[in-house]
């Protein structure tokens, strides 16, 4: 029976010239990285997939410099986030909406549309709020890991996450406590 390889094993095999090991790493991380970028792009799947592709190509050329201080997932999220920031800085293609605007998808949300709903709701958040609430709640990262990705102080991270959760809860019409 084949046992799943660890990230370190796959990285070693790739650095020794095994391209299949790289493909295995892409398969392992493509889903969370693409979903992370879809949240940042607030539903622009084409942009998110372009950025995800760029992220893995950067991994391809830079994996030899990966020191393993943080996990591979954290490292990839950092690359994805920076690629996304660079793109936003040069293209300004991000969509934002006012707080009091309720997306139409909210009315059909109880079905299987939670992904679309979340991506639509992300348009109500600033980029930092999108980033930090996604890494925290969706990606399950600790505040320290988020600080590793964003280089932001812990206090700033907590405040962005709380503000984002409050906005999202308000959009959902929920009274749940977010702090």
């Amino acid at each position: 029976m084949l046992t799943p390889k660890t990230d370190s094993e796959l990285i070693s095999r790739f650095l020794a010239g095994d391209q299949r090991a790289f493909a295995d790493l892409v398969r392992r991380y493509q889903s969370p990285i693409r979903q992370f970028l879809r949240r940042l792009a607030a539903g622009d799947h084409a942009l998110a997939d372009d950025m995800a592709q760029e992220t893995f190509l950067k991994m391809f050329t830079s994996l030899s410099s990966f020191r393993g201080d943080a996990g591979l997932s954290t490292w990839l999220h950092t690359i994805a986030y920076r690629s996304f920031l660079r793109h936003v800085a040069s293209h300004s293609r991000l969509e934002f909406v006012d707080d009091d605007y309720m997306p139409e998808v909210m009315s059909v949300a109880p079905t299987a549309m939670s992904d679309i709903l979340v991506e639509q709701m992300m348009k109500h958040l600033s980029l930092n709020e999108r980033l930090m609430v996604t890494l925290s709640v969706s990606g399950g990262m600790s505040h320290a890991e988020i600080a590793e990705v964003t280089q932001a102080p812990l206090g700033t991270i907590k405040s962005h996450i709380n503000r984002a959760k409050k906005k999202l809860a308000r959009l959902l019409g929920s009274e749940e406590e977010c702090i």
């Binding site: 493509q30 889903s31 391809f60 009315s107 949300a109 969706s138 959902l172």
Partner: protein, 104 residues
């Protein structure tokens, strides 16, 4: 708006995105990136040789180095004018090809 899951559950990545097509695309691009290094390296060397052939006096700083760069210089200097034009065309073609590959 009823029956929505709690916020934390709603935000979770609880769906696995099918990734074979995406992975194939990344692998194809990665292979091109790998080739690009050789293409750009070759183009840079060729350009250096051409430049040294056209203006050898501008490369006297290499004379102090105990490196076999003078061999490259000699090769470049021995290329005829038509050869230089051809080399320039080849370099342009190679760089253009590299860019085209990247944009695919």
């Amino acid at each position: 708006m009823t029956d929505l899951p709690p916020l934390d559950k709603l935000l979770a990545y609880d769906r696995h995105l099918e990734g074979e097509a995406f992975t194939r695309k990344v692998m194809a691009q990665a292979a091109r990136r790998g080739h690009r290094g050789w293409i750009l390296g070759g183009s840079a060397l060729l350009s250096l040789a051409v430049a040294m052939g056209i203006k050898p006096d501008n490369f006297t700083m290499f004379a102090d180095l105990r490196l076999p760069l003078h061999l490259l210089d000699n090769v470049a200097a021995s290329v005829s004018a038509s050869g230089l034009v051809a080399a320039l065309l080849i370099a342009a073609l190679v760089v253009g090809t590299g860019k085209t590959i990247d944009s695919m």
